[in-house]
């Protein structure tokens, strides 16, 4: 059972509807991402990645266009300004970094940022928050906060991102492909 709150007003509703069908959207708007240092000592695995436009360009040069996966990844990062990822995996339950989350949320305020999704799943005890930034009714930034019992992840993407292409990477890059019926089952 999942409790999801949506704020579908105006462009946001349209953006979400399109995003649900994996469309190409333009995102942007960088922000100051906390490092969540309080989690590093407790986590069994920590991932702290900050790639700006320059590093994305350098990384893109090493992607082989003749390799299908690399070609998809290259098309995904075209137009991106930055990707910031903070992900921590734990052996046991961990204290949710409320201070850092509050620090992040404090930047994700209207009118620039809108909370598009706030969802809680009782089945897997996870919370998901999606924020979208917009200027002149154009989405320009994406922030995801995912809190799970053994994992905490924050993703910030700035620039133009094609979610359809990004999602097409599922099953590659070490991303486990969800069984066809899993999403439908979990939605029930």
């Amino acid at each position: 059972m999942r409790h999801a709150s949506f704020y579908p007003s105006g462009w946001l509703a349209r953006a979400l509807q399109v995003m649900a069908c994996f469309p190409a959207l333009a995102f942007g708007a960088d922000l100051q991402m906390p490092n969540f240092d309080s989690l590093r000592d407790k986590a069994s695995d920590s991932v702290v990645i900050s790639l700006d436009g320059g590093l994305l360009g350098m990384a893109g040069q090493l992607l082989d266009p003749s390799n299908p996966v690399d070609a998809k990844a290259k098309s995904v990062i075209q137009g991106l300004k930055s990707i910031q990822v903070r992900s921590f995996t734990f052996e046991k339950a961990y204290p949710v970094p409320t201070a850092e989350i509050s620090e992040l949320r404090a930047q994700l305020t209207p009118p620039r940022w809108q909370q598009a999704i706030k969802s809680h799943s009782e089945s897997d005890h996870s919370d998901v928050e999606l924020y979208i930034a917009a200027e002149a009714n154009q989405p320009q930034g994406l922030v995801l906060i995912v809190t799970e019992p053994r994992e905490f992840t924050v993703v910030s993407i700035a620039g133009a991102i094609d979610l359809a292409k990004l999602h097409s990477l599922e099953g590659h890059l070490g991303v486990p492909k969800l069984p066809a019926g899993r999403q439908a089952n979990e939605a029930k």
């Binding site: 799943s121 993703v155 979990e186």
Partner: protein, 109 residues
Amino acid sequence: MSRDLEQDLRQALRPVDPSAELTSKLLAAIPTKHPATTRSARPWLRQMAVAASILLALGLSWGTYQHQQQERASQAHAELLKALAITNRSLDHVYRAVQSLDADRGHGG
């Protein structure tokens, strides 16, 4: 016997002051000034050495810079793939939430 030989050697190898004539000849043979052409005859040699040093330094710096850039690119490449994987996994939560809402709406409607 051996003492005589030693004495003869000492006698033969004793230091002898050069004659005044020899001294004057030697002094006359030594040039009073260094040839002016020693330094200026090959000025390009010095300049080439400096240029070669600069080129070598630049080459080494460029090589080091290229190596560092290659390492940064490799690291960025690995981080990009990992970031995309984590992003994709996180987006699944969003998609599931959207589908959940759609399902709830379907049941409600």
